[in-house]
Symmetry: C2
Subunit: 223 residues, 2 copies
């Protein structure tokens, strides 16, 4: 029982979901957790700010060690609980290289996703431009095609023959773009990856509750 861990999280947030998947994969259940609401601004509450001065979720700690950056938390958990649960860093150097490469590339994917999905939330009305929206969408489309190509080459998982930290960190983002209406026919490898991992226990158990209860958006359907 991971009683010495605390996770403050928001439902549907890819960074929060990553940490939840990693914890499941490492058999670290029973941690202290609290579901907070982005809509109510609870990610800016004192409870969060005390752990994460950026006012973002997740806020995560093990003992007194704070790991709010979700990818950092995932790497740390695998390193500290190496022999527990599923091995998430491959032994093979080639696979390891690809895994680290994909983890850091996923931050670029997230940035490009955010530039499209959160545009009206992030950019004040007087600074919005149709040309920027168009460019951001084209940039995201090109980025997703890159990942489509990666899966075309790598097969079922992003780095090597098994599920790894690359999948822990990237899967929530791929699920996110489909939640926002990405067309499965236009991105068949991404869609196959998305659908095949839905039933993996760590992913199924942590599937965002809000996604089960509400409809997604069609914002990316023409991408």
């Amino acid at each position: 029982m991971a009683k010495d861990m605390t996770l403050l999280w928001g439902s549907g947030s890819p960074p929060c979901w990553r940490v939840q998947i990693a914890l499941e994969e490492k058999n670290l259940q029973g941690y202290n957790q609290k579901l907070l609401s982005f809509e109510k601004g609870e990610h800016k509450s004192k409870e969060v700010m005390d752990m994460n001065p950026r006012g973002q979720l997740p806020a995560f700690k093990h003992k007194t060690y704070v790991l709010n950056e979700s990818c950092a938390a995932c790497i740390y958990l695998e390193t500290q609980f190496k022999s527990q649960g599923n091995q998430l860093i491959p032994d093979c150097p080639a696979e390891q290289a690809q895994m680290y490469q994909r983890i850091f590339e996923s931050l670029t994917l997230n940035q490009k996703m955010a530039d499209v999905i959160y545009y009206t939330w992030k950019v004040p009305e007087a600074e919005r431009h149709d040309s920027a929206v168009k460019r951001n969408r084209e940039t995201l489309s090109a980025e997703l095609k890159l990942w489509e190509g990666y899966l075309q080459a790598s097969g079922s998982f992003l780095a090597g023959k098994n599920f790894s930290l690359a999948d822990v960190t990237v899967y929530p983002s791929i699920a996110y773009v489909f939640r926002f209406g990405l067309c499965e026919e236009r991105y068949p490898k991404l869609a196959a990856y998305y659908n095949s991992l839905k039933s993996r226990p760590s992913i199924k158990t942590t599937w965002p509750r809000t996604w089960l209860e509400t409809q997604g958006s069609d914002m990316l359907k023409d991408l």
Copy 2:
């Protein structure tokens, strides 16, 4: 001699510099390398695109393993050459947690730096707004104050008692903001960190040549 490694790099680029510092720290000299010019657009050349389809520098590989994401390359190098050169991942779990946390936070720092420094390069003229410039500068200033606080708490290095991968990945960004005129008096901990590590062999040897030859900018002097 690291003859099985290749680095294509641009002078003054923090991501390129990170990989160079890591290679020095691990005693991996003698790698194949090529200095390319951003000004001449050489980062979009076929040679780079073949290794890095994003058309960015660095482009780095070990044997046939491509690691273009600079932080990924640094973690990989430490993992594969653990017993060679300086140890860059601390043994202590608390220090390790802090190190991974800072590595991933540095990507946020870089993003906020880029939003200010590359604004006119990234945003088409018709989409530029004084209000966005002002906000980006305030955001970067708040970010730098966060790092000032981190160094206030941690001392000479960013994670633990020794130089670690957190310093390998963050130092080039701190040097970059001072290159762009950040005021040493207003950010005394950042300035002390910047100045004290200048003479570290891995950093001194790889100091951007263009910085020795040309004047910096004063873009951040009022930040």
